[in-house]
Structures are given as structure tokens and as C-alpha cells.
Symmetry: D2
Subunit: 151 residues, 4 copies
């Protein structure tokens, strides 16, 4: 398992693996910065699925996540071909907000390629305003990864 | 001109205008978060062109910018159709790094849709390491937008 | 007006103008092939808006377009910076299908950069099957661009 | 192996597997048409790597492929989550051109989701014109997948 889940990713309860596609590279010949945010999104969605937080602006359930803020620190340039592991974990829970950390691990470089930090808001898309983090959501996060600051 | 350049954008010496494309929207029916980073990139490139900082990992000149970090705070959800103004300005200059602020203004909403902050590093792609910000670059930034912290 | 609407585009009743973004370029240093399909889509949507064909898989109206097939012939390599004009026009109308032609004109090259051809099907997203092209749609197309084969 | 390589893909000597990402979906809630062309590209690149055709507009070797034309017939709507198998095979070899067929297989639907057809031109990026298909390239294709029309 060590081979598949590097130490740097051990803290991440949700982890997805994605290929670097040739077309992810830009004119500088390395993976474009926007692609990292697509990877973060995919890991975030995978995490939220485990919480059963599936509502949104469409469909019967109006309570869903909205991305309020996101940051990426780029550590290494990536190129095709490669495969990345992308992790997501909750770092803090506020009244209506959830902080999430991300990590991109390059299998080719055997190194951390990027670190990310985001803030989600639990949003009532029908009312058009933030909604308190439901207690079941807090419990689901705790069940998935243990205690979290602010939870 | 007031109509074309809202007050919030007055501090930005470089400003580009882009259409929201239908395909910029994701399954939630609003502009996907990765698109904002594409817009920031386009404004950043437009700014750097004015500085004549054109080197990169390919071509004869190895001294070029590399994106070290970028953040976006999302203020408003955007939908098609709309047009956005995207601004870029330098906020700080370090030994090898340049801080840049971004703003996305929605013409349709007549409101700030997002704010961004990034750190570029002047990179020597041949040597594979950061390069001090050239004095001509500092002068070009000053000429474009006046005094900057750390310059 | 000749300057803004080249002869090659005269047959196109709907025309949009888009900037080439730096990030549209791939590792080969020219605009990636997928970007042309995004441009075609934007012109197609602009055309369909004029027909008031706004239904889809979501929302109250289930009758909307679905893309059945699309082709692009690439004529010229494009690079940043440039601006493109993208045209859409209906070329044929079948029982449930609509043929559409596209053209990409490069302002920088003053040349046709790509030609496209697509087939849309009028789809009943509720019933999950094709729907005959409504007579009002045929009339709206005729009003927009004159007689069409099969109409 | 039958489970991993459906009959429809048997004719394809090169096959890649990719996840559908949530962000691949557009406002209609299904995978956007441009994504299929990204998938085709990834399979095409994987095929070309096996041929050792690695030249391009940059780097020491100027002889590389250029995409002249590409078409996609969409058979099924795709949604997240899913995984796709994407195949590439050469269908014809001309003086300077190579025809390639593509297939997208949905693991979730257990069905063909799309079929594609493209024309590549062997291009001399230095001379700026097509280059005859090298005999070693013809041999490499034959070795990979057997006899091809026009070869």
C-alpha cells in the first residue's frame, strides 16, 4: 500500500487517481494551472459524495455546497505522461462553511506537485443564502476522518 | 468611459473584456470555477506583454514568469449570457517574485464577481531556478501603474 | 462593414466574435483542436437563441436540441493573440434533424481557419426520443436566413 | 479480459481508460461535446507514441503529426460518474495522410458512447508543408495492427 498511497497523502480520507492528459499541457509544455483546479474539484466531489451532500441549484434538494474560495500552491511542474493522486480532507467546520485541503501527488516525480485550500459554503439554493452545516453532515465528516477543528 | 470601466476596476492598469460562453457553465448551471483561473491567466498574460516579459521554457530567452500560487474568492455566481471585465495589477515586488491582484467584473450583474491574488516567480527556465526581478521589469511596472510596495 | 464581415462569412446569419486566449494553446503552441468545438458550440447556441429553442433536459420545456454529430476541417493553425469570427447557419432540415455549417475566420490571418458541419436533433428530453422539427422552428429559420434545403 | 475489453473495441490496438470527471459535464448535465475530442486526442497521442512519431513544431525533430480533420458521432449521453475506454486505430494511409478511427465505450452504460474519425497529416513543421508518410511509420503501423488500406 505504501507504493500506492505516499506518506504525504496519509491524512487524506478521500483520494482519486487521474491520468495527466497530453492536452492538459499548455504552450509552456507543462500542465496548465486551471487543470489543478479541475483535479481539486474532482476530489472535492468524491469527498462530498461520501457525505451524501448531493443537493444543488437544480433537483428536489436545494441544500448543496457552493465554492466560496480556493487557492493552489504549485510545487512542481507536471508534464505528460504522468498520473496524479489527488486528495481531499476537511480541515475546519464553521457555522455554514467547511474548509478543505487538497494535495496533488505526482506518481512520475514521486513528489507533491501542488497543495490546495478551499472554503465551501453549505448553500440553500432555493433561499439564495448560506445554510447552517447540518448536524448529520458534521457526523458524516467525523465518521469519515475523525475529529475536525470547529466540528 | 465610466460605463465601460467601473470604479472597482480603476486601480487596474490592464483590463481585458471576455464573453461568458455557454460551455463555461457546469452541471450546476453557472460558470465553473476553473474558468475564472483561465480569465485570470488571460489578464496576467496581457499584463506581462506590456512588461515585455516574454521568455519561457521554450525559445531563445529562458527568463520568464512561472505561477507559484493563485487564489480566487468567488463573490457572485455567473451565468451565460454575460460579459466580464478582468483586471490585473501588480501589488508587490520581491526579490524574485511579483504579487498580482485580479478582479472579475460582471457587466450583466454590474458587480464584482470574483477577486484573485497570485504570486509569480521570475524563473530561469534554463538554470531551473528563480531569477531576481530584473531592474527593467521593475521600471516597466512602475511606468505602467506607478509605485508598488517592495519595488 | 466589409472589414468586419469577410466575404466568406456573408452566408452566415449568426456571427459571434471571440478572442483567442493564451490558454487555448496546447503544447504544440497553437490553438488546441477542442477549442474550435467550443467556438462552434457558442455560435450554435447564439443561433438557437434566435430561434427561441430553449428547452433541454432541465427546466419546464423538454423540447430542445441535442448534438448528434459534428465535424471540423482545420485550415490554418491559430495562435495567441488573435480574434476569431465564428459563423453558424442552417444547411438542411430533416424530419427531426437540423444540419448546421460553421466557419471560423481569423482576424489576424485574414483567412478561414476552420470549417465545421454538425447535425442537431430536436429531442424530447422527457420522452427520451427525437421530436419532429416544429413548424414554428422551420419558420423562424426561414425568417432568419431564407429558404433551406428540406425545409 | 472480455470484461475489460468489450467486443466493439477488439479492432483497436491502442486503448486508454479515463474517468469521467464531474466538471466534464455542461449545463445540460451530460458530458460536453468538447470532452470527447480531448479523449480522442489522448488516444491518438497514445497511438502515435507507439509509432515513435514524436516530432512537432518545437524541438529538434520537425516531422510530426498535424490534425487536419476530425468528426464525432455521439451515440449515448454520458454522465458522471463513469469510466470510458477510448480506442484508436489507423484505417487508411495516404501519401502524407493517415486516417484514424476512434471509439468511446462507456463502462457504466456498457455501450458505445461515440465513434470518431480523423485525418492526420504528417507535417514538416520546419518547411511548413506536408511530408510523405515515412516507410518506417508504415512499418510500425503494420507491426502494431496488421495490414491497413493504402499502406
Amino acid at each position: 500500500m505504501n507504493q500506492q498511497r505516499p506518506t504525504a497523502l496519509e491524512a487524506f480520507p478521500v483520494l482519486i487517481e487521474l491520468p495527466v492528459q497530453w492536452g492538459d499541457q499548455d504552450s509552456f509544455g507543462h500542465v496548465n494551472n486551471t487543470v489543478y483546479f479541475r483535479w481539486f474539484e474532482s476530489a472535492r466531489i468524491a469527498y462530498l459524495e461520501q457525505l451524501n451532500l448531493r443537493g444543488g441549484p437544480r433537483g428536489p434538494d436545494p441544500i448543496g455546497p457552493i465554492l466560496a474560495s480556493i487557492k493552489c500552491d504549485f510545487r512542481r511542474q507536471l508534464t505528460y505522461p504522468d498520473r496524479v493522486l489527488v486528495g481531499a480532507r476537511v480541515t475546519r467546520i464553521g457555522r455554514s462553511s467547511i474548509g478543505m485541503a487538497h494535495l496533488v501527488w505526482s506518481r512520475g516525480l514521486e513528489a507533491v506537485a501542488a497543495e490546495g485550500d478551499s472554503t465551501l459554503v453549505v448553500f440553500d439554493y432555493q433561499a439564495g443564502r448560506p445554510h447552517p452545516v447540518p448536524v448529520e453532515l458534521r457526523q458524516a465528516i467525523a465518521a469519515l476522518q475523525g475529529a475536525v477543528e470547529g466540528a
